[in-house]
Symmetry: C2
Subunit: 589 residues, 2 copies
C-alpha cells in the first residue's frame, strides 16, 4: 500500500500563490500569521496525520465500532490518537481566545482538517463535528453556556454532535417529532429518537455535547416550530464538572457501507435535560450555523477521498508493469511497460489530478469568505459557493475515487489495497449534510432565483473581469474565450430557468442538479485559468520549480480539453426543461 | 426491503416486440419454440429466482465464503438452491443435445441468466461460469473430452472455471508463467499460481473443471506461446467416475468489496494433471470462446444491478414521504408528499429506467448474433457489439445502481436496505473479464481500426436505413434527426481517429474509452428509437396496454433529451486528441 503524504506543495500553491493567503490573513485577523508560521502548522499537521492517523484507517474499517451494554468503543488506537491530537492543541486553532482558542481564521482550520482527515476520514469526523458544535455555541450561546461548554470542547476533552435526523425525516426537518417540554427550572425535557448521529457516542472523550433539534408542545408545525437545545451526555455543574448521566442512550449502531470507524448512532432521548440554545422556534436557522460549516467539511471529504485515491493510483501506475506502449517500448529492461505509459491510464490519472487540485482551489476559495463575515457581500458569496462546494466536490470526489480504483484493475476490488474502502467511505459524502439534490435546490431555488439572480452578479463579474484582463494574452486566450462563453451561458441558463419557473416551479427541481454541476465546472474552470496564469507568471519570472508550474499548466489544459466540455451536456439537459421528467405517472415507473 | 420481481413485461417487449424473437428462433433453430413456450421458461425462471435465489442475496453478502482446512464452504442455502436449479434442468437449456443439453439458442440462455441472476449475482456466477467452460469444451474439445466432461457439467453435477489471471498479469496475459510440462502419457504437468478465480472452489458440486492457461517449457514468449488445458479438481476415469484428487489447492479466498457469496480463489497448481484443450499455443485464441461469452454475461451483470437498484428505488420513492411538491400539494392527507413527485427524484428514476431498459435492448440485440455464427456478417457484428455491451452496460449499470442508492438519501448507505450491497456487488463488473479500458482498445484498436472501419459499415447502414424510413414520420422525426446527426458524427470521429493514429498510435488509447461510450449511447439511442416506433405502432393498432406503450415513448423522449446529449461531451473529448494526456512526464503526476 501507498503511504499517504499531505500535498503540501499544492496546498501552498492554492493558498499562497493563487489566493494570496498572506494578504488575506492580514486583512481578517490581527494575529500575526507569517507564511512561515502557517507552513509550520501544516508541516506539523502532516507529520501527525502520517504518523498517527493514517495507520488507523484500515483497522478502523475492519474493526468498526462496537456497542456493548450501552457503551460504544472505537477501534484500536482511535482514542490514543485523539489524545495526542488534543495534547498538541489542534482543536483550539480557530476557536474563541476567551475560552481557550487561538482565534485563527476558519480557512486555516479547513486546511488543517484536510491534511489530518485525508488519510482516515472516519477518525477525523469525531473532531470535525465538534468544531461545528463549538461554533454553534459561540454564535448562539449565552455567556453562561459559552463559559460552561466551550473550554472543555475547545481543549478536546469533550466532543460535540449534531442531532437532526429522525427515522421519518431527513431532508424534511419540518416533520420532526422530538419533544422539548419546558420545565419549571428553565430547562427542557427532551424526548424522542434520532438516527444517523455521527460520532453520537464513543469512548474518546469525557463528555459529549449533543446539539439537538426538537419541538415545544405548543410550537407552530413545520420548520417554524423547531428549537435548538444543548443536551450533554453527562450533566454538568456551573463549573463544568461532570455530575450524573443525562437520559440519552445509544440504542444501536448503524451498519454502514463505509466510515466504519465512526460511530453512527441511534440516540434515544428519554426525558433528557436540555438547555435552549438561541431563540425559541429559531432552531433551524440557528442549526444552519452548524450545517453550513459541516457542508464545507463534507466538501473536504470529497477532496480527501479523491486525493487519497489519486496518491495510490499514480504510485501503482508507475510500478505496475503490464503491456507495451502502443507508440513503442518504454521500459526495455523489463517484460512490460509501467501502465502509466498507456493513454487511457493517463486519462484516468489526469482526470483525478485535475479534479483533486480543482476542488481544493474551490474549497479554499469558498472558505476565505467564511473568514470575513463582516465584509460586504462575503456572506452572500459564501451562501452561493457553499452548496456548490458541498455537492460538486462530493460528486466529483466519488468519481475520482472510483477512477483511482479502476486504475488498479481487479486488484482495486480487493480489500488489501485500500481503494475499495476509500470508495465506500466516500459514498456517504453526497448523502449526509443535505444530499446533492438538497444542495441543488438551495443553490438554484433559494439563493439564485430567490435573489432574482442578484447573488450571482459579483461572481459573474469577477470572472468577466478576469477574462477581459487576459483575453489578449496569447498563452491564455483560447481558454479565456472558452470561459467567457460559458460564463455568458451560465447567465443565460439562469435566465431561462427563471422565466420558465415563473409558470411552473417544477422547472427549478428539474434543472437544479445539472445547474449546480454546471456551476461547479465553471467556477473550477475559472480557478484553473487563474492557476494557469499564476504558473505562467512564475515561469516568466524565473523559478527553480519550472517542472511544477509546467505540470499545473498541463493539468489546466487537460481540464479545459477533457473536463470543462461536460458543460455542453449539462447545458443541453438544463435546456430540455421539466416536461421530460414530469410527464410520467408515478405508477408507470 | 423491496421484493425482486423479474421484469417479464419489459423482457417480452424487448425480445418479441422489438427484436421479433419468434422469427429469429425459427431461423436459428429447428426446435419448435412458440412464444408461449419461451414465456413458460421465463415464468418458471422468475418463480425460481424470486423463491429460491433472491432470499439468499443478503445472507451471501454477510456470511461470505469460508476456507477451512483447504475446503471452501458457500453461504447457508447456496448449495440447496443450486441443487434445485440443477434438478429443474436449468443448466441444460442451451447446451449440446448429444451430451444432455436441450440445444436452445444462446440468447435464450442470456435471458434466463438475467432473470435468475438479477436478485443474487454472486450465486448466479457459479452456474454462469460453468456455461462458459462447457461452451469452450464444446467448441475446442476432442470427442473423448466432450464425452467425459460435458454430461456431468451439463447436468450441473460439476461446475467449471476460467483460470487466466496471475498476480503479475491480468490485462497482459502474454506475461503468464504457469507451466505445462508434457508427460509421456500425453498429459501435462501443470504448475503455477492463479488468482481471482471466480467460483474457483466451493461445496456445491462434486467436481470442478478448471480451464487453465499455461505455457509449455519451449513455447514462444508472449501470447503466442500460451496453451489451454482442462484441469479437473478431481481426476476422473474414462467413464467420468471420480478417481483421486488432482494437485489443485485453494490457498486463499480474496477479501473483496462485494460479491461475497462467490468464492474468489487463489489456486495453486502443484504439478496437477492437465489435458490439452484445442491446439498447442492457440490457448489465448481458444480462451476467447470463453471470454466473449463471459463478456456478455458481465454486461448482464451491469443490467442486473441497475434493475435491482431501480426496483428498490421506485418503490421507495412512491412510499417515502418527504417535503411538498413545489408545484402544489400532491398528498393532502399526509404531512408530506411521496418523493416521487419531486423533479430531481424523477430525473434519477428516469435515468435508471432509460438505462435499464436501454441496456437490456442492447444485450439482447447483441446476443441474437451469437445464435447465428454461420450467417454472413454475424460474427463481425458480435465482435463489434460485445466490447460495447460489456463496458457500456457495466459502466452505466454502476451509475444506475449508484443513483438508486442516492434516491434513498442516508438510508441508502445503511446495510439493511440492500442498496449499498448492490453497488458494491456491481463495482467488479467493469474490472473483470477485461476492464473498460481493455474493451475500448479491443473495440477501437483491434476491431474498428483493425478492419479499416469496415466492421462498422453494416451497423452504420442499418441505423441510416432506419432513419431514412422514419424521417418524415411526424412523431419520430425530431429524434430521427438527432440520431442521423450522431450516426454521421460516429463515422467522422472514427475517421478522425484513424487519420491521427496513422501518425501516433497513442491517439487510439487516448480516444478509446470515450469512443466506446459514444458508441454505446448511439446504439442504445438507435434501439430506443426503434422501441419508440414499435410503441407508436401498437397504440395506433389499438391495445389494452396503452399505458405501458406511452411509458415507453416517454422514456425514449427522456433518453433523447437527457442521456443522448452526453455524446456532445464525448465528441469534444475524443476530438481533443492525445496530446493533453501524453504531455506530462510520469514523475509530474
Amino acid at each position: 500500500m501507498t503511504h499517504y503524504q499531505a500535498s503540501l506543495r499544492d496546498i501552498h500553491f492554492a493558498l499562497f500563490e493563487l489566493l494570496d493567503y498572506e494578504q488575506h490573513c492580514n486583512a481578517v485577523t490581527h494575529i500575526p500569521l507569517e507564511p512561515e508560521l502557517v507552513q509550520t502548522f501544516f508541516n506539523e499537521a502532516a507529520r501527525f496525520a502520517v504518523e498517527q492517523v493514517a495507520p488507523l484507517n484500515a483497522v478502523g474499517d475492519q474493526q468498526g465500532c462496537q456497542l456493548r451494554d450501552g457503551m460504544v468503543t472505537t477501534p484500536d488506537g482511535f482514542k490514543a490518537a485523539y489524545e495526542q491530537f488534543c495534547a498538541s492543541g489542534w482543536p483550539t486553532l480557530t476557536r474563541t481566545p476567551a475560552y481557550g482558542g487561538q482565534g485563527l481564521p476558519q480557512s486555516l482550520g479547513v486546511v488543517i482538517n484536510e491534511i489530518i482527515g485525508t488519510p482516515n476520514w472516519a477518525w477525523g469526523m469525531y473532531a470535525g463535528l465538534s468544531q461545528g458544535a463549538m461554533h454553534t455555541i459561540e454564535v448562539h450561546g449565552t455567556d453562561q453556556q459559552k463559559q460552561q461548554y466551550l473550554p472543555p470542547l475547545i481543549s478536546g476533552q469533550w466532543t460535540g454532535t449534531m442531532c437532526l435526523t429522525e427515522a421519518h425525516c431527513g431532508s424534511d426537518l419540518g416533520l420532526l417529532r422530538t419533544k422539548a417540554e419546558p420545565q419549571a427550572d428553565g430547562t427542557y425535557r427532551i424526548t424522542g429518537n434520532k438516527i444517523f448521529i455521527s460520532s453520537g457516542d464513543h469512548d474518546m472523550a469525557d463528555n459529549i455535547v449533543h446539539i439537538v433539534l426538537a419541538r415545544l408542545p405548543d410550537a407552530p408545525s413545520g420548520t417554524r416550530g423547531i428549537s435548538l437545545f444543548i443536551v450533554p451526555k453527562i450533566l454538568i455543574d456551573d463549573e463544568s464538572h461532570l455530575r450524573e448521566p443525562n437520559k440519552v442512550l445509544c440504542t444501536a449502531l448503524e451498519h454502514k457501507m463505509g466510515i466504519h470507524g465512526n460511530a453512527t448512532c441511534e440516540l434515544s432521548f428519554e426525558g433528557a435535560t436540555g438547555f435552549l440554545l438561541g431563540e425559541l422556534n429559531k432552531g433551524l436557522a440557528h442549526m444552519f450555523t452548524f450545517m453550513n460549516m459541516a457542508r464545507i467539511g463534507t466538501a473536504l471529504q470529497g477532496l480527501a477521498h479523491a486525493e487519497l485515491g489519486y496518491q495510490h493510483a499514480r504510485t501503482y501506475a508507475r510500478e505496475r508493469l503490464q503491456m507495451r506502449s502502443l507508440s513503442g517500448v518504454k521500459n526495455p529492461d523489463a517484460m512490460a511497460d509501467p501502465i502509466i505509459v498507456h493513454p487511457d491510464v493517463r486519462r484516468m490519472l489526469l482526470t483525478q489530478k485535475a479534479l483533486v487540485e480543482g476542488v481544493r482551489m474551490l474549497i479554499y476559495y469558498t472558505s476565505l469568505y467564511a473568514d470575513k463575515p463582516q465584509v460586504e457581500g462575503a456572506q452572500d458569496m459564501l451562501g452561493l459557493l457553499t452548496p456548490i462546494a458541498k455537492a460538486f466536490c462530493t460528486e466529483v470526489g466519488f468519481e475520482s475515487a472510483n477512477l483511482a480504483l479502476q486504475c488498479f484493475g481487479g486488484h482495486g476490488y480487493i480489500r488489501d489495497w485500500g481503494l475499495e474502502q476509500n470508495l465506500r467511505d466516500c459514498r456517504i459524502a453526497s448523502l449526509y449534510e443535505g444530499t446533492t439534490g438538497i444542495q441543488a435546490l438551495d443553490l438554484l431555488g433559494r439563493k439564485v432565483l430567490g435573489s432574482g439572480g442578484a447573488i450571482l452578479q459579483p461572481l459573474l463579474q469577477e470572472i468577466e473581469h478576469f477574462c477581459r484582463t487576459y483575453e489578449s494574452d496569447a498563452a491564455l486566450s483560447a481558454h479565456v474565450a472558452q470561459l467567457t462563453t460559458l460564463n455568458q451561458e451560465w447567465k443565460d441558463l439562469t435566465q431561462t430557468i427563471a422565466e420558465r419557473s415563473a409558470h411552473n416551479l417544477d422547472e427549478i427541481g428539474a434543472a437544479s442538479v445539472d445547474y449546480l454541476m454546471y456551476s461547479g465546472y465553471l467556477v473550477v474552470g475559472y480557478l484553473w485559468l487563474r492557476a494557469h496564469q499564476v504558473a505562467l507568471q512564475r515561469i516568466a519570472k524565473g523559478t527553480t520549480e519550472a517542472q511544477f508550474y509546467r505540470a499545473k499548466i498541463m493539468t489546466a489544459d487537460f481540464y479545459y480539453a477533457r473536463i470543462l466540455p461536460r458543460s455542453k451536456t449539462l447545458a443541453a439537459t438544463i435546456r430540455s426543461g421539466a416536461d421530460n421528467v414530469m410527464a410520467m405517472a408515478s405508477e408507470d415507473f
